[in-house]
């Protein structure tokens, strides 16, 4: 079982009346709510936390891409990942990922991901989301009905750019490039592990299975609500005749650990409610532009997380509901361990994205929860999936003799002192 410490990087200063005064945390959130000078400290704190997670033994540290979004301060996760690559040397750097339908040309992603893989010594996990409609359609102007087509083309271009050793011409519908010649290329061969984060489009399942990519269901609504979707995925895996390695799937879960269940509420309730009440307050039409979801997905009933129904759930949530209905997994190490085991085995996932920072949680609480998780929860869940313990298909293959740039070293002053 693998664990990645993931930070969405929410803006922690949304006002108390944010929900009443604004229609959306995403797309048209008032820009005046952002304070760049406070932002300076926020970025460093969040990046420090990711680095801290590595020292505690998490397998990966993760970031993702959102635009014009009050709960995601990473329009470019690659910048964050670049910083992490210089201050860590062991954990996988999971960029989940770049919304490739919005890049022009998408070869930029092939180049930047290759740079990250090289700088990190082969530790990149490369995520290729279609991108949420908020990001890809409303912020980045892509036509909803053509987004998936453009996504697939961008994917084909990037993968070919990584695979080919000779320059080639790419005559795509959305991208025409006479000279594709990815330079640099990634360390990991044939390519870094590919993760496809999905919100709930059933087309994504087949795409993952066509290419044997990991399917990551990034939900904020917990494993009980994620179950039907993951069941659909596993049925599809079986129907396609693929093996059922749990490492084919990952899931994101908000987790809060304290010494006791009561302490968890005391420490974390306000920050979790901040996340659900303010950070997920999205104007419903932004979540569902016509053409983004295919008619098949709509008919399947896999409703987008942020549509009207979801907004109704969000209103007036209490800590008790969050915990009882398993939106979040919170409590003592023993409580969290039990519920996580149910989550992991119930969904059949080999990789958990642990959202241990939530909403406006201060640094000390984040570290408290993270440390307890690493010391008292994670070791007890490692043993899960023993029959797949050697399955490395969806994991990084770093260079053995890579550098450890976090250990400060002086530059060479004389010939012979250079790094190898």
């Amino acid at each position: 079982m693998r664990f990645t410490w993931f930070n969405l990087m929410p803006w922690p200063y949304l006002p108390d009346d944010f929900r009443e005064k604004n229609r959306s945390v995403w797309v048209d959130i008032p820009n005046t709510l952002y304070d760049p000078k406070k932002g300076h400290f926020v970025y460093h704190q969040y990046m420090d936390q990711l680095e801290y997670a590595e020292t505690l033994g998490f397998d990966g540290i993760g970031c993702n891409e959102h635009h014009q979004n009050g709960y995601g301060l990473m329009p470019s996760p690659n910048l964050i990942a670049a910083g992490l690559a210089r201050r860590t040397s062991r954990a996988a750097i999971c960029v989940i990922g770049n919304s490739i339908a919005g890049y022009n040309p998408p070869i930029r992603v092939a180049e930047e991901f290759a740079m990250l893989d090289v700088i990190s010594g082969g530790r990149l996990v490369a995520g290729f989301p279609v991108g949420t409609p908020m990001d890809t359609n409303f912020c980045y102007g892509q036509i909803p009905a053509l987004t998936r087509d453009k996504y697939r083309e961008a994917h084909d271009l990037i993968m070919k750019a990584w695979a080919e050793d000779e320059p080639f011409a790419f005559d795509g519908k959305y991208n025409q490039l006479r000279w594709v010649n990815c330079w640099p290329k990634p360390i990991q061969k044939p390519h870094p592990p590919i993760y496809i984060p999905g919100g709930g489009s059933i087309e994504t399942w087949d795409f993952c299975l066509d290419h044997d990519y990991n399917y990551s269901y990034l939900s904020f609504y917990g494993y009980l609500r994620g179950k039907s979707l993951l069941e659909g995925y596993w049925e599809r895996v079986a129907a396609r005749g693929k093996d059922d390695s749990p490492y084919r799937a990952a899931f994101a879960q908000i987790i809060c650990v304290a010494d006791t269940d009561a302490e968890a509420e005391e420490l974390y309730a306000e920050h979790c409610l901040y996340f659900f009440n303010r950070c997920l307050h999205v104007f419903p039409p932004f979540a569902d532009p016509p053409g983004y979801r295919t008619v098949n997905t709509i008919k399947y009933g896999a409703l987008s997380q942020l549509r009207l129904e979801a907004q109704r759930i969000m209103q007036g949530l209490t800590w008790k509901q969050l915990v009882d209905e398993r939106f979040i997994i919170a409590g003592s190490p023993e409580t969290v361990r039990q519920q996580l085991e149910e989550c992991i085995t119930g969904l059949r996932i080999g990789h958990l994205f642990c959202l241990l920072h939530t909403g406006n949680m201060p640094d000390w609480k984040t570290r408290h929860s993270t440390k307890l998780f690493a010391e008292k929860v994670m070791p007890h869940l490692r043993h899960l999936w023993p029959e797949f313990k050697d399955d490395q298909r969806w994991w990084i293959q770093p260079m053995e003799d890579r550098l450890h740039p976090e250990e400060t070293r002086p530059g060479a002053e004389k010939q012979g002192q250079e790094w190898p």
């Binding site: 409303f138 036509i143 909803p144 039409p285 932004f286 532009p289 016509p290 053409g291 008919k299």
Partner: protein, 260 residues
């Protein structure tokens, strides 16, 4: 009106409403498609041979995957005219249909009689940004489309009882399908640069507008008239964006006077 299905040379299968006799008039619908009641088509059919094709993705028409960009939509328009066997029809386009009709008239200026643009999409004036129809709650859309929102709601839903879950689902799916198609030429900004091509329009042109249009405000009527050589403008005071539906008689009357 009777309905029939035609197949274009490209392979799209389109349902076409048809009635009347005389000069052919092709009516191109807006992003919401033809509503259930179209009294203005009946009115026009009293004088003309009226054809109202539905775009792929609308109603029973299929082949939406064949149309991806503005040129596809424009040529599709002419393919439909060809499949109907019409020669130099008058083109009447409403809203998104006006955008398509204007493109058709620019690309093949000798192949139509007269051109009518009613509340046409297709231009962008920075001082008058058009609301994002892809980011609206249902109630907000009705407010923007109609001068009288209550009447508008009834027209828009065509008497579908939304307390019936199945009926609502069907309407919702239809609306998603229609606007997915419309998004190909309207998202994120409904401007595919027809303004660069309008100098080519030689057909006598009438720009018709609802004076109370809140979606594409009447300033756009003036802009169309500036861009199309010799175009005339007529503003209809008591109508919003859905002018053919809100004022069918005045609409038919204006067209009859212009088309002759």
């Amino acid at each position: 009106m009777k309905a029939r299905t035609i197949e274009t040379r490209k392979g799209a299968r389109c349902r076409v409403l048809e009635a009347g006799s005389g000069m052919p008039v092709v009516f191109l619908h807006g992003a919401g498609g033809l509503l259930a009641d179209n009294p203005f088509l009946d009115g026009l059919a009293a004088r003309y041979h009226v054809f109202a094709p539905e775009l792929p993705g609308y109603g029973e028409s299929t082949g939406e995957e064949l149309l991806e960009d503005m040129l596809d939509f424009t040529l599709h328009g002419w393919d439909v005219v060809g499949a109907l066997g019409l020669t130099r029809p008058h083109l009447v386009g409403h809203s998104m249909g006006g955008m398509i009709a204007a493109e058709m008239a620019a690309i093949a200026p000798n192949d139509l009689g007269r051109l009518v643009l009613a509340s046409a999409a297709g231009l962008w004036i920075e001082e008058h940004p058009i609301p994002d129809i892809f980011a609206l709650l249902p109630g907000q859309l009705v407010e923007l489309l109609f001068q009288d929102a209550d009447k508008g709601q009834a027209l828009l839903t065509g008497g579908v009882d939304f307390s019936d879950m199945e009926a609502f689902k069907e309407f919702y799916l239809g609306q998603q399908r229609r606007l997915a198609m419309a998004g190909k030429i309207l998202f994120p900004i409904p401007n595919r640069r027809v303004s660069k091509r309008l100098y080519r329009v030689t057909a006598p042109t009438l720009v018709l507008w609802g004076g109370a249009d809140k979606l594409i405000v009447p300033a756009y009527a003036e802009r169309w008239a500036q861009l199309i050589p010799g175009a005339q403008v007529q503003i209809i005071p008591d109508a919003g964006h859905m002018l053919p539906y809100e004022q069918p008689e005045i609409f038919v009357d204006a067209l009859s006077r212009f088309l002759g």
